[in-house]
Symmetry: C2
Subunit: 233 residues, 2 copies
DNA sequence: CGCGGGTTTGAGCCTACTCAACAGATGTGG
DNA sequence: CCACATCTGTTGAGTAGGCTCAAACCCGCG
């Protein structure tokens, strides 16, 4: 999508020097933890979530390889969100100072971070609209499509059938529903012939109808990056 | 909160050269419009929203003076959201290229934009959690507190009593409720002695209890900006 | 073989929605 | 200055989508 120069590439490499491996289920940081680092997710899938004081959980975002994690630690000393591994993962931690230096040395990378933020913002506002204004079925359909597209971004060979990698409870926490109701909505989508479920995999049988019933918009498409500043090296 | 240097200050002034005045109700941009500009909101209050295809509306964010508007136009040619004036407003438009130049010339301002993005992200995720996991009453309470705090940021003299400046329909579209139910929730908060309503104004009678019933967190507090890069001039 | 995590299904309930009517306030044109 | 339209807020009655509680099932795993 954007070609980095050698210098920029090396700057990123430098940022990601260290590496940490996480097993599925491990939490990288817990809400309100005193934190200072940020992370690049190098492989695997993670999620960020918050706990409300009635004990319920809201999943804010599902992250996959290449995402920046915990960027909000840049400005808050106490983490505003919990970050947990959904699969085995590797992350590369880096310090505020490193990011700060990067911004100064590589304005074009600074701009790309801004771009990244805006994509994420768009995705968040889509979810906001979904939670506020769409039915349970639409929300479940939307998360299915989003997960498939994510999978495909990392592996072009992914087609109609893919491994969801989320429990129904997790889908519920992401969509603001109960696990029980998620189950019923999946069944309904299946009964209507929109999807099929087979041993941990989901297959789209009528993607068109699925998209129609979910208001889904792919925010990684149709980006315009012509305005990016010149690179320095 | 952060002291700008003369150079930085002048760079921002330059960005905000032009000015445009908007009457209440006017839309600055409509979803899917072909756009290229971004804006600084100089005075007044605006909102960004999306329309779903069943005709319902979700308000994504309420903006007040000082906010950056339509930053997502940076990366999308077609606006992902509608932006409308909630009161008479003035905005200062600027181009992608201007922002791009700013990032190169003033890395510390680039960092501040990043900071701004993260605050906004935190606010969005709070709302996401509210829509997904809290009751109607809690959501209404939360928006009241948020609006009061916003008003106070611009005018330190604002205390328990303030002008809400939103119709019940707008509150509904922001919280994912119907106007009718918003009305009932306001009445309930009033009956319970948490608020009083008097001619367009809201007064907090028990702010502690209001905050308790709403999970509200003020994301503009407790920022740590010690890591910001040195300014250049 | 028993255990635990995840899934499935049923029954009944409650929160928030829909529809509808009305009251006030504001504005507009005649 | 009145008649009328429009927008916002208020209240009631009935409905429904999604929740709770509970039980059973499936499957991989120690």
């Amino acid at each position: 999508m954007v070609v980095l120069t050698d210098m920029e590439y090396r700057a990123l490499e430098h940022l990601e020097q260290r590496e940490r491996h996480l097993r599925r289920g491990v939490t990288l940081q817990r809400e309100n933890d005193r934190v200072g680092e940020m992370f690049v997710l190098r492989s695997g899938r993670m999620m960020s979530s918050v706990l409300l004081d009635d004990g319920s959980r809201q999943i804010l975002r599902i992250h996959s390889a290449g995402d920046l994690l915990a960027v909000s630690n840049l400005i808050y000393d106490n983490a505003p969100e919990t970050i947990t591994a959904l699969s085995d993962c590797t992350v590369a931690p880096f310090e505020r100072a490193a990011l700060s230096a990067l911004l100064v040395a590589h304005p074009r990378l600074a701009a790309l971070i801004l771009v990244y933020n805006q994509i994420e913002r768009a995705a968040l506002t889509d979810r906001l609209a979904a939670l506020g204004r769409t039915s349970a079925k639409a929300r479940v359909a939307a998360i299915l499509i989003e997960m498939r597209n994510r999978a495909r971004m990392l592996d072009k060979s992914v087609g109609d059938s893919f491994v969801l990698g989320l429990t129904q409870e997790e889908i519920g926490d992401a969509t603001g529903l109960t696990a029980v109701h998620v189950n019923r909505m999946l069944r309904q989508l299946e009964d209507e012939g929109l999807i099929a479920r087979e041993a941990g995999r989901v297959r789209f049988r009528d993607e068109r109808a699925l998209a129609r019933s979910s208001n889904f918009v792919d925010r990684y498409e149709k980006l315009d990056l012509g305005w990016l500043p010149e690179s320095r090296g």
